[in-house]
C-alpha cells in the first residue's frame, strides 16, 4: 500500500482542536445531537488515526482501530463524565482497541516499516536546514519506535508521546501498573541505545 499524500497542517480539519470547542460539542453530543458527534469525529479523527498507527504500526489496522474507537465512543459517550479531557478519554479507547487488534493480529504478521508515511508537523519552522536535520532525526526516531516490539511500543507511545498516566495505560492494555512501568523502562532503554547519537540531534531541533 502506498503511503498517503502530504498535506499542510491547515488542510487538516481539527488536527489540534480547541478544548472549549470540543467541550461544547461533547455536551451537545451527550444530549443526543448526532451532528455534534459527527463534528467531534471530524475534529479528532486525524489525531486518533495517528495514535492508532503509532500503536499498531500498520495503516489497515489503524483504520480498523479508528472505526472501532468511534463506535465505542458513540455508544459510551453517556459514561464520559468529563473528569479527563475528551481527547484523553478517546486515547484510552484507542489504546484499548489497538491492544485488541494487536492481539487479534497474533504473531503471524511482521510489522512493515513505513518510514515515509505522510506526517504533518503542526509547528513547522522556517529554516530549511534545521527542518531537514530535525526531519531526518525524527524519521530515525519513528523507525526505532516502529522496530520496538508492539507491547513495548504501546507503553512508550502512550506515556512519553501522549502523556497518559501509568494507571490508565495499564488499564487499557490489560496489564498491571508495575508491568507497564517495567515495559516503559525497557522501551526507553532500547530507544536510548538505538538512538543515542540521533537523540541529541532530534532534541536540539525541538
Amino acid at each position: 500500500m502506498s503511503p498517503p499524500s502530504r498535506v499542510t497542517a491547515a488542510d487538516l480539519a481539527g488536527s489540534n482542536p480547541e478544548p472549549h470547542h470540543l467541550a461544547d460539542l461533547v455536551a451537545r453530543a451527550r444530549d443526543g445531537d448526532r451532528s455534534a458527534f459527527d463534528d467531534l469525529v471530524r475534529a479528532t479523527y486525524a489525531d486518533t488515526y495517528t495514535l492508532a498507527y503509532r500503536l499498531t504500526g500498520d495503516e489497515e489496522d489503524a483504520r480498523d482501530v479508528v472505526q472501532e474507537t468511534y463506535l465505542r465512543a458513540y455508544r459510551g459517550l453517556h459514561r464520559f463524565r468529563g473528569e479527563a479531557r475528551f481527547t484523553t478519554w478517546l486515547y484510552r479507547i484507542t489504546a484499548n482497541c489497538a491492544a485488541t487488534a494487536l492481539g487479534r493480529r497474533g504473531r503471524h504478521r511482521h510489522d512493515e516499516l513505513v518510514d515515509d508515511a505522510a506526517l504533518v508537523d503542526e509547528h513547522p519552522d522556517h529554516d530549511p536546514a534545521a527542518r531537514a536535520e530535525r526531519d531526518a532525526a525524527r524519521v530515525r526516531l519513528r523507525g526505532a519506535l516502529h522496530d520496538l516490539p508492539p507491547r513495548l511500543r504501546a507503553v512508550v507511545v502512550l506515556r512519553d508521546i501522549y502523556d497518559l498516566p501509568h494507571e490508565a495505560i495499564a488499564a487499557e492494555l490489560g496489564i498491571s501498573e508495575s508491568a507497564a512501568k517495567v515495559r516503559l523502562h525497557r522501551a526507553r532503554r532500547k530507544l536510548r541505545e538505538e538512538l543515542s547519537p540521533d537523540v541529541a540531534e532530534a532534541a536540539r531541533a525541538v
Binding site: R6, R34, D38, V41, L71, E122, L141, H185, R188, R192
Partner: protein, 116 residues
C-alpha cells in the same frame, strides 16, 4: 555502588518520576557514565514529546466510513429505542389489564360474600 544499581532509575530521574537515595545520588554525582545516560534520556524524552505535534494524514475515505458507521449505529439505537418503547407499552397494557381483572374478581368475590 555500581552503575547497574542506578541504571533502572535514570530514565525516571530524567522525567522527574523517580528519585535517588543518598548513596545512589552520590554515585551519580561522581559517575560521568550515569550522567551521560541521564542526558541521553532527557533528550530522548524531549524528542518523543516533540512527536506529539505530528499528525499522520489518514487516507481519504476514512472520515466518510467512520461517519457512515456512526450513522448506522445511530439508526440501530433509534430502532432499539422504538422497539423497547413498544415493548414497554405492551407490558404496561398487560399489567393494567391484569390489575383490572384482579380488581373485578375481588369485587365479585366481595358481592358473593354479602348476606342476601
Amino acid at each position: 555502588m555500581r552503575c547497574d544499581h542506578v541504571a533502572p532509575h535514570l530514565a525516571g530521574l530524567a522525567d522527574g518520576s523517580s528519585a535517588l537515595d543518598l548513596r545512589e545520588r552520590r554515585h551519580v554525582e561522581h559517575c560521568l557514565r550515569c550522567q551521560a545516560e541521564i542526558v541521553q534520556y532527557r533528550r530522548l524524552l524531549r524528542a518523543l514529546r516533540s512527536l506529539r505535534s505530528e499528525v499522520l494524514v489518514p487516507a481519504p475515505g476514512l472520515l466518510g466510513e467512520v461517519l457512515a458507521n456512526i450513522e448506522a449505529a445511530g439508526e440501530e439505537r433509534a430502532v432499539r429505542g422504538l422497539v423497547s418503547g413498544r415493548r414497554a407499552a405492551y407490558l404496561g397494557g398487560l399489567a393494567a389489564a391484569t390489575a383490572a381483572g384482579a380488581a373485578g374478581a375481588l369485587v365479585l368475590a366481595t358481592r358473593h360474600r354479602r348476606p342476601a
